[in-house]
Structures are given as structure tokens and as C-alpha cells.
Subunit: 258 residues, 2 copies
Amino acid sequence: MTITNPGPARTGRPIAAKRVITVYTTSANVAERQSAPPSLAISTVIFALRPSESSGRPTLWLPLVRRIREPFKGLWALPGGPLTHAESLQDAASRNLRETTGLAPSYLEQLYAFGGMHRSPTQRVVSIVYWALVQPTEAALADESENVRWFRADKLGSLAFDHNAIVDYALWRLRNKLAYGSIAYHFLGEYFTLAQVREVYEAVLDTQLDPANFRRQIKSTPEIEETGEYLQGGKHRPPRLYRFTGRPGLDPDNRSIP
Amino acid sequence: MTITNPGPARTGRPIAAKRVITVYTTSANVAERQSAPPSLAISTVIFALRPSESSGRPTLWLPLVRRIREPFKGLWALPGGPLTHAESLQDAASRNLRETTGLAPSYLEQLYAFGGMHRSPTQRVVSIVYWALVQPTEAALADESENVRWFRADKLGSLAFDHNAIVDYALWRLRNKLAYGSIAYHFLGEYFTLAQVREVYEAVLDTQLDPANFRRQIKSTPEIEETGEYLQGGKHRPPRLYRFTGRPGLDPDNRSIP
DNA sequence: TTAGTTATGGTCAAGTTGACTCAAACTGAT
DNA sequence: ATCAGTTTGAGTCAACTTGACCATAACTAA
């Protein structure tokens, strides 16, 4: 969103670009790099809820991979990779997610195409970023290794490239979508209690919600279906289980799903 | 947004791709094209309000350019072009818009990255599409020629590539943003009457709105400022002029604007 | 002066939201 | 067997918002 400036005034930029490149450059020279087309990458911000270590209540986590080469070697970054030829953007995101973390998302949506000129010091790269939600069952058996680790979304430290800004934006979108749309259920399994839904909202929005008012609101949405089942085993009145019957939909790539 | 299918089931696709390519192909062979990286293009959906020819009331129009070569030679398409090296995505969209239509947008936001595999029959191309609003003063003096023409958004006919779907999605986004955000004012000049704002809503959403209720709602938003001026010259009570004081903002590329 | 037209302020009923109260239904300890 | 502790789940009430509608104000054209 910009009040666009149609005039000149863009004259300083190329010099800055050249300076940065000179510092970090490894093999190819400036002329070569400027003629080469910008390369295209796909990355994904993956959210899951996990019990907090301290309080035990669910909190937002996301998996990152450690960079094993320059630039930003050793830093943590979003999982991603190049776009191969035989797959759509969404398929590429899905594949990438599976390959780096072993996860299959319950929700996957395009976030934004990031194409600033100085995102990577060594080359011009345009990243089409997706964001995904995975259910806790999935998240529990996710691969974790020396180079793949889960972090609390609010305690990330400094990431490679512009990935901190990307995560911030993904968080903003997640909170926004949660407030309007019917997205919370993709964090949960097929059956859930209304209290679990509330915990999702509280974790993502980082607020406390009145249980009674929240339940009234959720129950008024037509996409929530009461089941006859109850969740046993708590040390209190057993809560009824519900089911989500809505379909995701409004991404242009997913319009056709009935 | 998808319940992603992590499994196989993608086996039919390459065959379909090959068949399409065979029909339309001109020079390069299949192997060459599959190894080449997908090319990156920037396109823009540009909206402006113009008086309808029949009723005289404002309606949504957008400029298209005629394709002068294959594929889809002769058909109308969204203005666009390749991404050059020394500009950000947004700058590229802005430049493209200026070059093809002579317009400077009052609003510009990224819409979506379209990357389906069969968008263009001759090569794999990923389009990062922006959408823009221009004010009527701008729109009036827009270049129009044999190969650039304005069309009513609801009477487009069949466009090149997947551009009909792209326009549909842009329309959906525009209507959505209008209903929530404070975007209507970018169709108008610096000073406007509340009735003009209402006309924007009525044109875009294609409904009739109650003038009294609408004014109450608009006046309750803090970003609208009463001026002491009135619009003279109508054949009725002169309406007060208002001013919009809000800033666009929430696109990740524009977060920094104060 | 009057008819026509839009601007602008107001009322009222229906619906929504947030704060809060209270009974129901379970577990675990005494 | 009973009681304390917990969460579920229903409901009340006032504040606020929304849509339908009415009435007056302020201009022009005839």
C-alpha cells in the first residue's frame, strides 16, 4: 500500500546495491549477477501449538532449519527451497514442508511474495512464502535434529535474511484470520471441546477470554456441529465434543474445492 | 487454503502438460523448457471509477492491453511485464502501470502470486500480481490507444491467460477491503462529500445504501475529518466537504511508512 | 413563491457484546 | 457418603450497533 511516487528520486539505489554486493560477493561478478534473472524460492512459516514448558498451556511454536552454507551460515531460517518445474507453487510449499520437517499441514495458504532487492547479499531472490498450520498430533512426531528445531514464536532471536519480518507478518495474518475466519479448528483434531477452541484463541491472540461469552459466540457459527460424545477423564464435568464442518476456501488457487 | 494431500495421486499431470505444450509449441523443445527456470512477471489490475455510459453513475472500469504476439495474440490482457533487476516488486508494478497506461496510482498493493503450471502454453511463468486504485482525475487523462483500452469490470469478455480469474480475485479483494478497511477514499480526490463516498461503495459493492445510515457509519470512523468547506453548484443543498486523514498501511512492504 | 432534490439529524426496534451469576456434573480427599 | 474444588454450560442485563424510517434544512429551477 503506497501513495506511489511516480517521479524520479530513485537514483541512489543502484549504488547502495553495488556496495553491499561487493562486500559479500564470492564468485560471480556484478555484471553477471545483474543480467541473470532473479531466482525464485518457496518458503513456509509453519505454526503449531505445543504445551509451554513453564505453564503447560498451549503456545505457538514454529520449526526452523539451520543454514549450512553462506550467506547466513549457522543462523536459523524458514524452511524453503527452489521451485521445481513439475509442481504448482502450493505443491512446492507442501513438498518442502514435508521434506524439511516431515509434516503434513492441515491448512496451507499463500502469505506474500517478498522481492526486495537486498534480501540476500549474494543474489537477487524473490521468495513466495506460504504459511501453514499443523495439528498437535502431527507436530508431536515432527522430525527434530541438529539442523531442524522448534522455537516459540515469541522467542525467535535473529534469523537469516528478512525472515524475522516474514514471521512477524505471518503472525499478523494468523491473528487477523483467527479473529474473522474459521481457522482455529485447523490447529485441532477432528473432535474438540469448546474450551480447546478457546485455548487456541488465547494462545494465538495472547489474551484471556470469558469462557461463557466465547462459547456463545462459537456456538452461533453454523460451521460448528455438536456431537453426542463427551470427553471423559478430566477432573470435572465432562465437556461435550464438537466437530468443524466448514471448508477452508478463498484462496484463488483453492476456489474450486466444493 | 487446502487440506493438503501429502500422498501420491499427482501422476496424471505431466502427460496433460506435455499434450498442451505440443499443440502450442513454437521453437524450443520440451526438454529445454523443463530445465529453464520459471520466468517471473509482474502484472497489475488497475481499478478506477468512471461514469457509466448509460446511467451516468460511477462504475468500475479497468484498463487492458492488447497482446501483440503469441500466445493469445490479439486478446486483451492485464498490463504487465518482466521484473528488471534494479527495482523492487512494487516499483516494478508501479513502473509498468505508468508505462502502459500513463497512470500514477493512489493505492497499490500486492494481490497474489499466480504460479499454476499451465497458465501460459509456451513456458512456465509465475506472475506476481498487484492491484491499484487511481483517482478519476488521473483516469480521465489516461492514455488510450489501439492497444490500450478501458473496460467495465463487469463486461470483460474472455481475456488472455488466466487473467479472468485474476480479475475476479482482485474484485473480491477490493470488495472485501472496502467493507472493512478505509480504502474507498483512494478512488476520490483530497476533498469529497459523504455522498461521493457512498457512490464509491454502491459502485464497487453493487448495492444501494441508505444515505442516512451510511453517513452515520462513515462519520463515526476517526480517519474522516470535517472541513469547513461546502461543495457549491449542485441543484440542491450544498454538501459539506470531508478529508481523509488515515494512512494506507498493512502490506509488509509498507509497514515502515509513518 | 413553489416544487424538486439532496443533505443531515433524529427515533425506534432488533440484534450483538461484555460483565456477571448460578446451577450441573464430574473427581478426589476426607 | 459427603464435601471441596473444578470446569461446563445456561442465562440475565445493560451498553452498544445496525437497519428501517421520518422529518427538517438548504439549496436550484421554474
